[in-house]
């Protein structure tokens, strides 16, 4: 009996990987995507969350605007949500025609928080698209495939409501040195072991932490958003729990070059992701903690032969589903 169940699970998993994994080249026909978009009367918003991204933001806006707005009208708006950059990110983004918002100025009556998840959540309020595409703003080798390939499954397949990128992800670690890593380090050391322990089906998602994904508003406004790094993990778990794996697709975007992060920064990222993950496990009744988890990540730095403590606090705050926010309901006539 047990063996039979295992076989059933295996078959189901294989089907998802086979049927819901795409390559960007399958969606190269942009005329077809535009035609289908117009036939379905869809609007699409691109959101770029930023914090000090002056070196890469212009390139992302220019290429998307040229290729997916001016030449092929796939996108209806490009929106930058900034967390208070100290460099020229905001000026540069504005000069190339993006709609730029300071995250704190959106829904100002709510308590203010800083973080990528906060920006993505607030993008739901300021954008108008039926579909939102979220792209990290630090991609050095940006290409319009990063957007159209995520939109392809959503526009051409009625069943799919959320698409996620994966890639062969070289890291620019030192000048002239690139090394292929397959999945990201946090993915392989943290997320994949956790998925294997609790949600084996989700291990088929090659890069659950990739910063590029797109989804229908009707899904995204019904899930909570952790304000920080945990947003990608929570998004997958919440969509999986509410609608199942079949509404999710993943797309191979091939090479992505991004800024490298040191091990300590990845440690802090892992801390946030672990907290988000265990919080969701508790909510689902899959895990019970005998004591409350701490909110501080403790790291040590060797300074002049002394170990100095570096403490990173993380409250684990989450924004509720946007659809529960009154102002949002009013703006989108959902009352």
């Amino acid at each position: 009996m047990c063996l039979w169940l295992l076989i059933v699970v295996f078959v189901m998993n294989s089907n998802w990987l086979k049927n819901k994994t795409f390559h960007f080249s399958e969606f190269r026909d942009l005329n077809n995507l535009v035609k289908e978009k117009e036939k379905k009367n869809l609007t699409i918003s691109l959101c770029l969350p930023t914090l000090n991204e002056e070196k890469t933001i212009a390139k992302e806006i220019i290429i998307m605007k040229s290729e997916l707005m001016m030449r092929y009208p796939l996108l209806d708006e490009i929106v930058v949500i900034d967390s208070g950059s100290k460099d020229k990110t905001v000026d540069i983004a504005s000069s190339y025609g993006a709609d730029v918002y300071n995250a704190d100025d959106i829904l100002p009556e709510l308590e203010k928080h800083k973080g990528k998840g906060e920006n993505l959540w607030k993008a739901l309020y300021v954008t108008k698209g039926d579909i939102l595409v979220y792209i990290d703003a630090d991609i050095k080798n940006i290409h319009h495939r990063f957007v159209y390939a995520l939109l392809g499954p959503l526009i051409l397949n009625d069943e799919i409501k959320y698409s996620k990128a994966f890639y062969d992800r070289p890291i620019a670690s030192k000048r002239n040195i690139m090394r292929a890593t397959g999945g990201g380090r946090v993915t392989e050391l943290v997320i994949r072991p956790l998925f294997s322990l609790f949600f084996p089906e989700l291990t088929q998602i090659i890069q659950p932490l990739s910063g590029e994904y797109a989804g229908y508003r009707e899904l995204l406004d019904k899930i909570p958003f952790p304000i920080g790094y945990g947003v990608e993990t929570s998004m997958i778990l919440d969509i999986y729990e509410k609608w199942g794996l079949d509404v999710i697709a993943q797309v191979d975007l091939e090479k992505r070059v991004h800024r490298n992060q040191d091990t300590k920064a990845l440690g802090r990222m892992s801390f946030v992701i672990l907290k988000t993950f265990f919080y969701r496990l508790e909510k689902l009744g899959l895990f019970e903690s005998k004591q409350e988890m701490f909110n501080e990540m403790i790291q040590y730095n060797l300074v002049k032969n002394n170990y100095e403590t570096a403490i990173y606090s993380f409250e684990g705050f989450e924004r509720p589903p946007m659809i529960e926010i009154q102002q949002y309901r009013e703006k989108f006539n959902l009352c």
């Binding site: 001016m70 540069i92 290409h143």
Partner: protein
């Protein structure tokens, strides 16, 4: 002449209105590394972009030069060529990801010559935007193997094998806006290798030093009497050698060019330098190997050639101050085949040959308008006289 000149100033704003498309082409093509002899990846993207912009014919010639042809309205007119070399000085291991700021684009090879290739790929869209059509076919060619040892082989092959006559040519380079080349000097580009045999006994007290040997060659060349007319010179452009500070150099390399307005003088200087090298080689008892890696014949249009006169008018109409000097580029190959041609630059910038090369975005729109003005001049017949 006046008809197209009047339109030019308004072109600048029209071209600026599609800046995102032009910059996208520059970035998407320029970020593909293309060291000389390894331009295929960039050539493929260049062709893809041309095809994406619905250029009538997109192909490569037998030498792998990527070419797009925009069909003209009068099939009896010979084609007009617009060319930019695809290759750059930078190897595939150099980071080619560009940074765009409000006013500039920064990165390896942006001025030499990615901006020109990006503009070349954008011309079909710019023509559409300006509602322009031409009597002649417009051949957009990204030529391979231009720089250094490439010896302009791509353009040589392209022009040599082209089946019909050619009406005129425009070569585009990155900077400096205002550049107007219409003549090229005769030139021989040489490498000198000095190798001290490893068989020399280690206890030898007067072992030759490759750096000093090359220094002696340089000194002897500097003693040569060069005429002011025909204007002639030797440029020492590259030098390398040795392993570390405290070790006598076993090897050294010198790269130089002999340039003159007279091909006979270039040949005479080459002979004299060969003699110097033989003499030094014999005196020091070392192996000195001189190799000519590239050469060009002197060729020119006259300043009062209609193409030059009209190009100056186009530039002045756009407020660009023309600056002329000789050019060692694709231009030489056009002129040596009696095809009227000029070389123009697209924009302004700095750190021309460095990895952090920077081009200014705003001057580029005038630079493109200038290219279109000269194209219109050639299409109106200024090269046909």
């Amino acid at each position: 002449m006046g008809n197209y000149l009047k339109k030019l100033p308004s072109f600048v704003d029209e071209i600026r209105s599609i800046r995102e498309t032009i910059i996208s082409n520059i970035v998407l093509i320029g970020q593909i590394p293309a060291p000389t002899f390894r331009e295929q990846d960039r050539a493929k993207i260049f062709l893809e972009r041309l095809a994406d912009f619905q250029v009538d014919e997109c192909t490569t010639d037998a030498y792998q030069n990527p070419i797009g042809i925009i069909r003209g309205t009068n099939s009896s007119r010979p084609p007009i060529f617009v060319v930019a070399h695809l290759d750059t000085f930078f190897g595939k291991d150099v980071d080619h990801n560009y940074i765009i700021t409000e006013k500039s684009i920064i990165g390896a090879g942006i001025l030499e010559n990615s901006v020109s290739v990006g503009v070349l790929a954008s011309l079909p869209e710019i023509f559409r935007k300006l509602n322009l059509s031409f009597e002649s076919d417009i051949v957009l060619a990204g030529v391979v193997q231009s720089i250094g040892k490439g010896n302009l082989c791509g353009i040589r092959h392209l022009l040599k094998s082209w089946p019909s006559s050619i009406r005129g040519g425009i070569c585009i380079e990155g900077c400096e806006l205002g550049r107007l080349n219409y003549y090229s000097d005769g030139m021989i580009r040489c490498n000198l290798d000095c190798n001290i045999s490893s068989n020399t006994r280690w206890e030898h007290h007067f072992r030759p030093n490759a750096i000093l040997v090359i220094n002696e060659v340089v000194n002897q060349i500097l003693k040569m009497r060069l005429p002011q007319k025909p204007r002639s010179r030797v440029i020492f452009g590259k030098i390398s050698g040795g392993i570390k500070h405290g070790l006598i150099a076993h090897d050294g390399k010198l790269g130089f060019e002999i340039q003159s307005t007279s091909d006979a003088m270039v040949k005479a200087m080459m002979n004299e330098i060969s003699d110097i090298i033989s003499d030094v080689s014999h005196e020091y008892g070392v192996n000195l190997k001189l190799k000519a890696i590239s050469n060009l014949s002197a060729s020119r249009l006259k300043y009062n050639h209609p193409l030059v006169k009209n190009t100056v008018a186009v530039m002045e109409t756009l407020g660009i101050n023309p600056v002329s000097e000789h050019s060692v580029s694709e231009l030489s190959i056009f002129l040596s085949r009696n095809i009227p041609a000029v070389t123009l630059a697209i924009t302004k910038g700095k750190n021309y040959h460095l990895e952090n090369s920077r081009m200014l975005i705003e001057p580029m729109f005038k630079g493109i308008a200038q290219v279109i003005g000269v194209l219109m001049a050639i299409d109106s017949g200024v090269c046909d006289e």
